[in-house]
């Protein structure tokens, strides 16, 4: 019998703590498959951020350093400058990257650091219990926007992939979703392109993944998955915003 599907070698054979219907597991798999396909696992240093993503080292069989909240791009900068021969990526949520870590992502991107940033946008702070994030959609109810996000007082969702694409230091910026088989396949292609930028020494690469957070959205897994396609993809357009080397 031919085996057609198996756990990527970069992932450990363990259960995750992620909630049912959470997209982190799928995104982890995409990252792990891409590491395997480029044979990077034995030369990679990952940077874990604060939030549900902190357990990176529990699920990936990689060397990993933990970063203080929001600072992963600065930590990755230090790692990559000291070990330019290693493959270095950060894995960050939207509270981490787009709120407290805004300065670090902008400036690592602007310096054109040869790292890859994997950004998981689920429009909420997952681990702390579903508070309003910089990516929370207008009108979205969260535990700190109980009347729905009012843009006149609380501003607008930050479109990070587009924002970064305006910086000259950024080589590749894209947004993907993993809410359907087709989108998963597209997401994998974007991940591969982003990794190629670093492998080929072509500069800073960034992929934003839209992700479901059923628990904090107060939805079932299927409903949450549908919300990604219905509401999130409308505000956060999928696609490639910068691809300087046309990979």
């Amino acid at each position: 019998m031919q085996q057609v599907f198996r756990r990527p070698e970069s992932l450990k054979d363990v259960q995750t703590h992620f909630c049912p219907g959470c997209h982190h597991g799928t995104i982890h798999r995409i990252v792990a498959e891409t590491l395997d396909e480029f044979d990077l696992a034995r030369k990679t240093i990952g940077v874990a951020s604060i939030g549900c993503s902190v357990f990176l080292y529990s699920y990936f069989d990689l060397d990993v350093v933990e970063s203080p909240h929001g600072r992963a791009p600065a930590v990755a900068t230090g790692v990559k400058r000291a070990r330019p021969d290693r493959f270095v990526f950060t894995y960050q949520g939207d509270g981490d990257l787009a709120a407290i870590g805004t300065a670090e992502i902008i400036h690592a991107a602007n310096r054109g650091e040869d790292i890859t940033v994997i950004f998981v946008n689920n429009t909420t702070y997952g681990m702390t219990g579903g508070q309003m994030a910089p990516t929370t959609l207008p009108g979205q109810r969260t535990s700190t926007s109980p009347y729905g996000r009012r843009s006149e007082k609380e501003g607008f969702p930050v479109r990070v992939a587009e924002l970064l694409s305006g910086l000259d230091g950024v080589a590749f910026s894209a947004r993907a979703a993993v809410n359907s088989p087709r989108n998963i396949m597209d997401a994998k292609k974007q991940m591969k392109k982003a990794f190629r930028y670093q492998i080929e020494g072509k500069g800073f690469s960034f992929v934003e993944f839209l992700s479901a957070c059923p628990t904090n959205w107060g939805m079932g897994a299927i409903e949450a998955n549908e919300r990604v396609g219905r509401e999130m993809c409308e505000y956060f357009r999928l696609g490639t915003f910068k691809n300087t080397a046309n990979l």
Partner: protein, 353 residues
């Protein structure tokens, strides 16, 4: 004859760091330490090193965290308000057991304060300025030669004990020029870096982290860190002992204040007073035993600091029970640096034959 160079204190730190093998510097401009990033920006490219002027003090210390997590010798420098910004990550590095060097050429405070020499950061440096209950190694140079020597020592101690180390100076020792005799890095046995991240190529995952959620895990980690602090106190306390053997009054202080105090002590000796100076070189570990043994025979201690009384708490905890500890402080601002004559007056005030 060894080569003598006329060098500014901040530059002596850079020379010491480079001699110690540091090739990664990350910083942000703030007075009065700008000579350090300027020097490193000139020197790092030619040494195959990396210099980044980061977007903030926070980013700089996190770049240090990343580079040092790979086992490289990395450093940052700043001054008081900037050091406050670094504190969260210093706590992380203490928890993650990452060696590195942080230089604080401190200024007067609180808040924006001023740029004058000050010692208002003793508590922050020595008592664990960030959250969670930890210590870092703190060295306090009082000469340009010590800026060089202690920088090399700081890197070695940081690696031996796997924790951040700090040089705590100020504008006096940072900006002043004095002769320096450079010398090769002294040989010290250093442990293998079997924790450093390198990609898993040599087999087995390595994780550098400070999150411990398992039952009892974090408590055990805290006791492990505590054991290092106890070891440091037993093995690494350093101090300068100047004329204390027959003294009936011992002056003390650290860094720039101790420099001025030493001049005052020499003046007192010329007047025939039996006065000495006990100067902590390591602030953490604090040389408590040196104070205990010196105050077996000498019962009067005069602590001089450029603040309203910080190290004096550690002095009081360390001296013999029947010793008197007096304090003279000048929390610095413009025009507040004490003169040797002013300190001599204080020595006369408490001196008894």
């Amino acid at each position: 004859m060894a080569k003598r160079l006329l060098v500014r204190g901040n530059e002596a730190i850079c020379m010491g760091a480079i001699e110690a093998g540091c090739r990664y510097y990350f910083g942000y401009p703030i007075t009065p330490q700008n000579d350090i990033p300027e020097f490193m920006s000139r020197e790092m490219p030619g040494l195959n090193g990396e210099f980044i002027q980061a977007e903030s003090e926070i980013a700089s210390i996190n770049m240090v965290l990343g580079a040092a997590a790979t086992g490289a010798r990395a450093m940052t420098s700043s001054s008081s308000p900037g050091i406050s910004l670094k504190m969260e990550t210093i706590s992380y590095m203490a928890g993650m057991e990452i060696p590195c060097l942080i230089v604080n050429i401190s200024r007067s405070g609180p808040g924006l304060g001023g740029i004058d020499a000050s010692q208002g950061d003793y508590f922050q440096a020595v008592k664990g300025g960030g959250h969670g209950g930890y210590h870092i190694i703190v060295l306090a140079p009082s000469s340009i030669q010590e800026m060089y020597d202690l920088t090399m020592l700081a890197f070695d101690l940081a690696e031996i004990y796997r924790m951040p180390a700090m040089i705590l100076g100020d504008a006096v020792v940072g900006q002043m020029k004095e002769p320096l005799i450079p010398h090769p890095r002294p040989h010290r046995e250093l442990p293998a870096k079997d924790w450093a991240l390198r990609g898993t190529e040599e087999g087995g995952q390595r994780v550098v982290k400070s999150l411990f959620l398992g039952d009892g895990e974090l408590e055990a980690h805290n006791w492990k860190l505590f054991a290092k602090y106890r070891d440091l106190a037993a093995k690494e306390a350093r101090w300068e002992d100047y004329e204390t053997a027959d003294a009936t009054l011992i002056a003390t202080g650290f860094g720039s204040a101790a420099r001025i105090a030493k001049t005052a002590v020499a003046m007192a000796r010329e007047e025939g007073m039996k006065v000495g100076l006990l100067r902590p070189i390591t602030l953490f570990p604090f040389p408590a035993k040196a104070f205990a043994s010196a105050t077996e025979h000498c019962k009067t201690v005069l602590d001089i600091e450029l603040n309203t009384g910080q190290m004096v708490e550690d002095v009081r905890l360390s001296v013999a029970r029947d010793a008197e500890v007096h304090f003279y402080g000048r929390p610095s601002g413009t025009g507040s640096l004490p003169t040797p004559e002013e300190l001599l007056e204080q020595i006369r005030r408490y001196y008894r034959n």
